[in-house]
C-alpha cells in the first residue's frame, strides 16, 4: 500500500497538490495547523485511498511530498 509523506516544514501551503490533482481527492490544506514559516501545510485525509500515482509529488514546487510503496 502506497504511503504519502508531507514534509510539513518544507510545505508552503500553496495548495497546488490539493486542487484537482489527486485522482482520489485525498489532499487538502490542514485548516488548523501552521508551520514555523506561517503556512498551513498540506495533509492527507485518507491515506488508504492513495494509489501511489505521484501526481501530488509532481505538482509540488518544493518538493514537500514523498511517495513510498
Amino acid at each position: 500500500m502506497p504511503e504519502v509523506k508531507i514534509l510539513e516544514e518544507v510545505c508552503k501551503g500553496c495548495g497546488l497538490c490539493c486542487d484537482n490533482v489527486c485522482p482520489v481527492g485525498i489532499l487538502r490544506l490542514a485548516p488548523d495547523r501552521i508551520n514555523s514559516s506561517g503556512y498551513h501545510p498540506a495533509e492527507i485525509t485518507d491515506m488508504s485511498k492513495c494509489i501511489g500515482c505521484g501526481y501530488c509529488y509532481m505538482t509540488c514546487p518544493e518538493p514537500a511530498i514523498e511517495v513510498y510503496k
Binding site: K12, S36, S37, G38
Partner: protein, 177 residues
Amino acid sequence: MTKEFIIAGFGGQGIVSSGIILAYAGLFENLNVTFFPSYGAEMRGGTANCQVVVSDEKIASPVVVNPDIVIIMNEPSLLKFEPVVKPGGMLFFNQTLIKSKPARKDVEIIPIEANKIAEELGQGRIANMVMLGAMVKKTKMVSIESMKKAQRKRFERASEEQLALNDRALERGYALF
C-alpha cells in the same frame, strides 16, 4: 526624546504597514519620524522587519541597531531581535503565535494574545493593530487618536468597515493595560 522601534514578523503580518502607521502617527503629532523597511537577505518569504525612529529632534540616523522598543510577531523574529533590545527597553510579542518565552531580565516583556484577540474581532490579519494599540498605551509615544488617523491614512482605499475594524483592534490593544 528619541525612541527607536523595530517591528518584525512574517511577510503577511502587516509589518511594513505597522511601521508606516507608527511613523504617520508621529508625524501627526509634529514629531520627526523615519521609517525603513528591511526585507532581509532573502527576497521571497522569510521574515520582514522595519525600523522606525520617532523623535522631537531632527533625526540623524534612521538605522536602528539597538531598539528601545520591539514588536515581535513570530517565532524567528524573537530569536533575532530579543538580544538587541536596549537594556530598559520594551519587548512586545505576539503570544498567540510564539511558543518560546523571552528570557531577557533587563527589558520589560509584554506578551499579547494578538492573533487570538484579532480572531475574536473577526479577522486574524489585524493582529498587528492589536499590538500597536497595546504599544502606544504602554509607551505613550503618541496618542491612540493619532494611530487611528494614521491607519486611515495608510489604508486610504480600504472600506469604512475595515477601517472601523482596525480602530477597534487598536482600541482592544490599548485597553489591555
